[in-house]
C-alpha cells in the first residue's frame, strides 16, 4: 500500500513542493511506495508579481501564466478539481467533480481570496492590481489618467505581497513624471496602522521616499466605504478623501474550507511556525498565504516553506525523524520607481535593513521575474 501525499493548490507553494517531493522521493515514487498528487482548480500556474507591471504597460497578463502541467514533474499526478471539504479525522478530501480522495500526508497551499465586497462601493469605485482583470482595467485607466488625485489605499492587512502598494505609488510617481504629467497629479497613499507599512524599517524608508517625491501619506486610515458617485473614500476614523483614480488593495481572506475543517480562524491555517504542521490535525501542513505565520504573505515565503515541508514529509515517509524547520526567511524586492529598486531579507524576529535603491537591483528583480519559472520547477 503506497503512501499518498496530497497537495491542495497549484501556486508557488504547491508547485515548488510537488517538484521538491518528486526530486526527494523519486525512487519511492518509481517503485510505487509513494504517490504524490496535486489538486488544483486551474490549468494555469500564475506568477502574481507580474500584475504590478501590467498597469504601467511593462508586462502582459500572458507573461504571468504557464500551464501547471508544464511546470510540475511528470511523476506528480495532477487532479484538476476543486476541493469542497477537508475531513482530517478520516483523512480525506471531498472534490467538486470527482470522488473523495484519501491522503496520508496533506499540505494546504490554496492561497488567499480577494473580498472587495466587504467594502461597500469598492468594486464600483476602485481599481486594483491583485489579479489579471483588475490589473488590465487599471492599465487602461492609468493610460487615460493625466490629471487629478490618485489615491492608493491599503484596505486591511494581511494582504499578498505587502510591499506592492508602496512599489505601485513609487512607480506611478516616476511613470507620471516620465509622461510629463506628474505636476498635474496629486498622489496619496493610505495605510491602516500608525505608519506607512507593517515592517518598521520599510515604513521608515517608504516615508522618506514619499516625502522626497511629494507623495502624501495618511496613516490610521481604514477605508470602510467608497462613494463611486461622489468619488469619495470614507474611513472608520471619520476621514474622507476625494479621489479621481482610486487604487484600493482589496481586503483578503483565507479559505472557508479551513474554517469549516476546524483548522483555523478566519480561513488561515493555524500552524507551528517552524514545522508548518497544523495544530488542530495530524499529518496536515500549510504553506504560502493560507498559513498563519508571523511573516509576510509573499512568494518567497511559500517557496522556502515548501522546501521545509518537502524535507519533513520525505523524512516521515522514510520513517526518519523530521528535523527541517522554517525560520521565517523572507526575501522581497521593492521597486522604488520605474528603473530602480531595493530588496529586504529577514526572518522571524529580525528587522530588515532597507538599502538605498539602485538600478542594478531593479534589473535583478526583472531578471528574477524571468527566472521565476525555474523556482516553480523546484530548481532555483
Amino acid at each position: 500500500m503506497s503512501e499518498h501525499i496530497v497537495i491542495v493548490g497549484g501556486g508557488t507553494g504547491g508547485t515548488v513542493l510537488a517538484n521538491r517531493l518528486a526530486d526527494k522521493l523519486g525512487a519511492e515514487i518509481d517503485s510505487g511506495d509513494v504517490q504524490v498528487t496535486m489538486v488544483t482548480d486551474s490549468q494555469d500556474h500564475v506568477y502574481k508579481p507580474i500584475w504590478l507591471y501590467v498597469p504601467f504597460g511593462k508586462k502582459d497578463p500572458a507573461d504571468a501564466r504557464r500551464p501547471v502541467a508544464e511546470l510540475v514533474d511528470r511523476r506528480v499526478d495532477i487532479t484538476y478539481d476543486r476541493v469542497t471539504g477537508i475531513d482530517t479525522d478520516d483523512k480525506q478530501l471531498s472534490l467538486a467533480d470527482g470522488p473523495a480522495m484519501a491522503y496520508d500526508h496533506l499540505t494546504l497551499a490554496m492561497g488567499v481570496e480577494l473580498v472587495p465586497d466587504e467594502v461597500p462601493g469598492l468594486k464600483e469605485g476602485g481599481h486594483h492590481f491583485y489579479g489579471e482583470d483588475g490589473a488590465t482595467e487599471l492599465r487602461d485607466a492609468m493610460a487615460e489618467f493625466t490629471e487629478g488625485h490618485l489615491v492608493l489605499s491599503v484596505i486591511g492587512v494581511p494582504h499578498m505581497c505587502p510591499a506592492a502598494p508602496v512599489e505601485f505609488v513609487l512607480m506611478a510617481d516616476d511613470w507620471l513624471r516620465k509622461r510629463g504629467v506628474r505636476d498635474d497629479v496629486e498622489i496619496t497613499y493610505t495605510y491602516p496602522i500608525q505608519r506607512a507599512h507593517g515592517i518598521q524599517s520599510v515604513a521608515d524608508w517608504a516615508t522618506e521616499e514619499f516625502e522626497e517625491k511629494d507623495i502624501n501619506v495618511q496613516t490610521f486610515f481604514n477605508a470602510d466605504e467608497v462613494d463611486p458617485e461622489e468619488k469619495v473614500l470614507h474611513s472608520m476614523e471619520g476621514k474622507e478623501l476625494d479621489y479621481d483614480l482610486l487604487v484600493g488593495i482589496p481586503p483578503h481572506t483565507g479559505s472557508e474550507l479551513v474554517t469549516e475543517a476546524g483548522l483555523g480562524d478566519g480561513g488561515w491555517v493555524d500552524v507551528d511556525k517552524h514545522t508548518l504542521e497544523a495544530t488542530a490535525a495530524e499529518d496536515v501542513y500549510a504553506i504560502g498565504d493560507v498559513a498563519d505565520v508571523p511573516t509576510s504573505k509573499a512568494g518567497s515565503v511559500a517557496h522556502y516553506e515548501a522546501g521545509t515541508v518537502a524535507d519533513r514529509i520525505a523524512s516521515k515517509v522514510r520513517g526518519q525523524v523530521p528535523t527541517a524547520t522554517y525560520e521565517g526567511k523572507t526575501v522581497c524586492f521593492i521597486e522604488a520607481g520605474m528603473d530602480e529598486a531595493t530588496f529586504v531579507e529577514f526572518a522571524y524576529g529580525n528587522e530588515p535593513t532597507v538599502r538605498p535603491a539602485s538600478t542594478p537591483v531593479h534589473w535583478a528583480k526583472l531578471g528574477y521575474n524571468e527566472s521565476y519559472w525555474l523556482t516553480a520547477r523546484g530548481l532555483l
Binding site: 486591511g156 492587512v157 496602522i193 507593517g198 490610521f220 481604514n222 472608520m236 471619520g238 508571523p294
Partner: protein, 79 residues
C-alpha cells in the same frame, strides 16, 4: 474591573506580531455595533501603545489593560 468584566467578544491574537493584533481588533470593531465590549488578547508589547493610539484616532473607548502574565487583555468599548 476586569475580574467582573464580561466582554461581548474576545479576540485571541496571542502569538501574532505587530500589526496583527491591532488589525484583528480593527476587523472586529468594523463588524460590531456601538457599545460592544471587546477583549483583545495580545502578547505583542507594542499593542499597549498602538491600540490606544488607534482608539483615540477612531473615537472608541479604552476601558482597561490587564497584565495576564504572558499576555495582555485590552478591553475596548466601541463608540
Amino acid at each position: 474591573m476586569s475580574e467582573t468584566m464580561e466582554p461581548d467578544i474576545t479576540v485571541d491574537s496571542r502569538g501574532a506580531t505587530c500589526p496583527g493584533p491591532l488589525m484583528d481588533l480593527i476587523g472586529k470593531v468594523k463588524q460590531s455595533d456601538p457599545g460592544t465590549v471587546i477583549e483583545l488578547q495580545t502578547s505583542d508589547d507594542s499593542s499597549k501603545s498602538d491600540v490606544p493610539d488607534w482608539l483615540d484616532e477612531a473615537g472608541h473607548n479604552l476601558l482597561e489593560v490587564v497584565d495576564q502574565g504572558d499576555y495582555w487583555s485590552v478591553y475596548v468599548e466601541t463608540a
